[in-house]
């Protein structure tokens, strides 16, 4: 039975999983350092049949309960280019996108500067290094060369035999371990760990909902030592990894974000589409695969929209 979650236990937990200094005082890559070239080459050897599966939602331009500040997609020039449009002889179409990617309907990666704990971010850098002009430290450029490694999907609805986990439910460490056993797979150093909660299935069945008001399934703080011990490089979820509504513990509203991003230096993938992936895994009875995530190279950014791809 897990320890009661209190300010003290979370502070202890945070300290116990801290990787600050582990890769030097100037390091901004955090747990991405676990991904060695050898591990990457080994991940490529996992490829068998060559199927590729995207883990991204559609770009969220429609307002909705999970998307109160939708992105912009505007045409700059459509197929109606007039004579004399300034593009003589060239028939072309152009568009523009704008997005604040940390929304709850956007598949995105969080940079290590996205969250602070008492004014500090990963490796002890100060929140004041994230200025109005952008992040001088821990920007998404830490992942500038892409994240290519093995990923493992732990499929919680499958484990529980339900179509989805109810909003607000929190998966404990024992369930992650049970899912490993049920799926005959073991989360290991340098992995992207993907946790499926069935959010996509619930959205399809019941429509989108407000994650703040109604809730999202996620991981209980008891999972944090597991993530640390297994030395994962990145954590991804079809929700936001933290259950919502957030923890009621003073100062620890989203312990997974706080311990992963700040203490461990683990980048997070939020709001993935894992329904297609879960089906592809189940069809093969195989929950490990080569995984590729390629953040846009945005200097000083707190994250990036991404379209992560699994290759079987």
């Amino acid at each position: 039975m897990p320890e009661a979650v209190t300010v003290e236990s979370l502070e202890r937990l945070f300290e116990s999983v801290k990787n600050w200094g582990r890769w030097g005082p100037d390091d901004e890559r955090g747990a991405l350092n676990y991904i060695t070239k050898d591990l990457r080459a080994a991940a490529a050897r996992l490829v068998r049949d060559g199927e590729a599966v995207s883990c991204s939602l559609e770009f969220p331009v429609l307002p909705g309960p999970d998307n109160p500040t939708p992105a912009q997609h505007h045409m700059v020039l459509a197929g109606d280019a007039p004579e004399g449009s300034g593009v003589p002889h060239l028939e072309t179409a152009l568009d523009y996108i704008g997005i604040a990617c940390h929304g709850m309907a956007t598949s995105h990666i969080d940079a290590l500067c996205h969250v602070f704990v008492r004014g500090k971010m990963y490796n002890g850098f100060s929140a004041s290094d994230v200025k109005s002009t952008g992040a001088a430290r821990n920007s998404i450029m830490a992942a500038r060369d892409g994240i290519v490694t093995r990923a493992v999907l732990l499929d919680l609805p499958r484990l529980r035999g339900v179509p989805w986990l109810e909003p607000g439910s929190a998966v404990e460490r024992a369930e992650l371990e049970a899912a490993e056993r049920a799926q005959n797979v073991s989360v290991a150093e340098g992995d992207v760990l993907l946790v499926g909660t069935g959010r996509d299935a619930r959205r399809k069945a019941l429509g989108a909902w407000d994650p703040i008001g109604v809730g999202l399934a996620g991981l209980h703080p008891s999972c944090i030592p597991f993530l640390h011990e297994r030395r994962i490089a990145v954590l991804g979820c079809d929700g936001t990894s933290d259950p919502l509504p957030g923890s009621a513990v003073e100062g620890w509203p989203i312990p997974i974000h706080q311990c992963c991003l700040v203490a461990m230096g683990v980048h997070l993938l939020d709001n993935l589409e894992l329904g297609r992936l879960a089906a592809a895994c189940a069809a093969r009875e195989r929950w490990e695969f080569l995984y590729s995530v390629a953040p846009l190279r945005i200097e000083r950014a707190t994250g990036s929209p991404v379209n992560p791809v699994a290759i079987f």
Copy 2:
């Protein structure tokens, strides 16, 4: 010696490489259909040492001669979150990006709806299907699951023994074939073909320049049959594949774009950063590798910013 480039020869060329109907009347994937699962699995088997190399420029927020309409990167919330900022108890940083990705300083993929020839796009769909609300046909969603396959880099400066090709110079078919021989590699069905012209080296040495006014190196129309015969899936370049200034032939300003996107259904990667990649290839004397390109899943879009990654 190549045929003179005239309206007639380009029209003949266009017709001769047309893939309209090849994959059915409703197809919007074009030459991406060449990438089979088997080819993808074979590409994964190319991975040896596990090095990953990004082929993207930095997100282009600074105005410059090659970037007259820079992108936006704005913080929504920096590390100075006040008490009472509306995010009580949560210390976080957020930002916003906006971009018209077809600019000349942006690494991006062109969707098949990006260019028309006399009012038609790939597979015969009408330019009028690209409305002010976006592309009803041939949007970037054709590549929604990512493009993962083998890529081959043909390194033209290396072939010619120069640091870069001068702006405006046009590489002919014979040079592509000479580069294949020199590099002991052969462009094949389903490949991403990357053509390096040394633009990054020239930019580093001389600073950015205006591609419209000064020019860019690219491919001569004589390369088009080569691209067609080899059944490439995607063409990428550190420039825009077409040399600039564009062709003076009436109605055919950018024959590579027009023949690849419209006739052949070949997606294009423009303004890649191929300097790092060329060095990685030369160090290994190996110019083929696994390649992953993951456009954002933007419905009705004419393209997407991307960060393509090579894995050796």
Copy 3:
């Protein structure tokens, strides 16, 4: 008792108030032509005590039931400018705004190109003149020099002795005339006519609501001949002039917009804040005043956010 509102009656109405050709075949200013310099000078003579009252809501950056696609307001540089921020020696703060101004929580002006009736806009120009690159005809540039003239407020809640008109209620012509008599004012040629429905009071009392789902008070089609006979230049409202939900008559969802913008060439001011103005008028028992509206000079635009000001 008003004629039943049918397709036929609305078509007849539309034809009967049509100003097409009235100011020449190329005219794009429509009823702004009613505002002569003499009328403007006379309006200035209305000024007595010099009080100025804004009729604009706050820039709508917060999502809400009346604002599903909020505007963007982002700092480009706040007061935390670092040494070496690229602005040496200069301490400055900068920001960025982005807005699609036709939203229901934005005080804005509609250009004459904002609405079409069966493919035509004011003065018979074709909807196809409004391209993906903007409006070649009837853009907001028609009002490029500002709209400065007399305005009259008709205060409907005051007339009815209620704090606000309920969502969906439609004010008929007789009520406009009754308000004129009650307020001892007469709407005349070249006026901006402002119609107050108490939306601000209701919002303050009950919170914002969804105008589409819940409704908005506005003008019944019977008012259209009144607007035409009086030769108003501009119509403004704290709602959208048309009641919502819109008319159920096939092809005539928003007859006020359709007849004002398209037939009469009357620009519209939507979503004004008229609570402050109503109080200022009531305090003086005077419902006419000098009015100034200054759209941004955006070529090819369908409208502009504005902050109209009344001077007493």
Copy 4:
């Protein structure tokens, strides 16, 4: 002959024109307080013939030497609305604008939070009150009800008998006073003072130029006591009031901005179009008129694009 401009003289000047505390410790309106209702009513009585003249440039969407970060104007929906576009039965056109208004080709107003001097802004508020979420103090909301008062144009090219002042030239106090005499007008309390340098004429004749590299005409620091003594409310210019390149005095790059915005609390109007206005004044031999400036009501903003209008 004016005192040499040094760090010491500028510091003395800054102190000598400081209005901090003049209107109370919490005041954020600064010299707008000079505009009384009586002055506004008197300004309205200046109206004679009713001509209205806009003082704004066109919205700056085209890149150029004076506009390295152009604004965005994109259609959201043009006149090609398909059946089933989500707007059933309604034929409409919509667009979107985005702008960082402090650019050098944009007619805009500077809020009092736009500039700091040694970490302080008007009335002694700290630069740290301008956060990544916007300005908690001295935002443009100080002018939320519009600025309506008398304006006076001082036409420097007319005084000098030249079509324009050369880039970089600095107008001294004596010339402002000479212009007053030549135009038979006197700048007084509560005025908007407009200073014309002929920038528009030069742009028309020679094309746009880079104000940073080439320069702009503006006011010498010797004008600052004049602005203070006359108790102007707002200063406007067809340039940026400060000459460019800026002053070489350490810490005082733009003394007019620094003394007006920070010391005196005088809002600034930058990059106006004063060519039309100068012609209208000359035709009447009358350089005073009613003036209306209506910033958008953007909470926490550092300024606003505006279209100021003169009424004769």
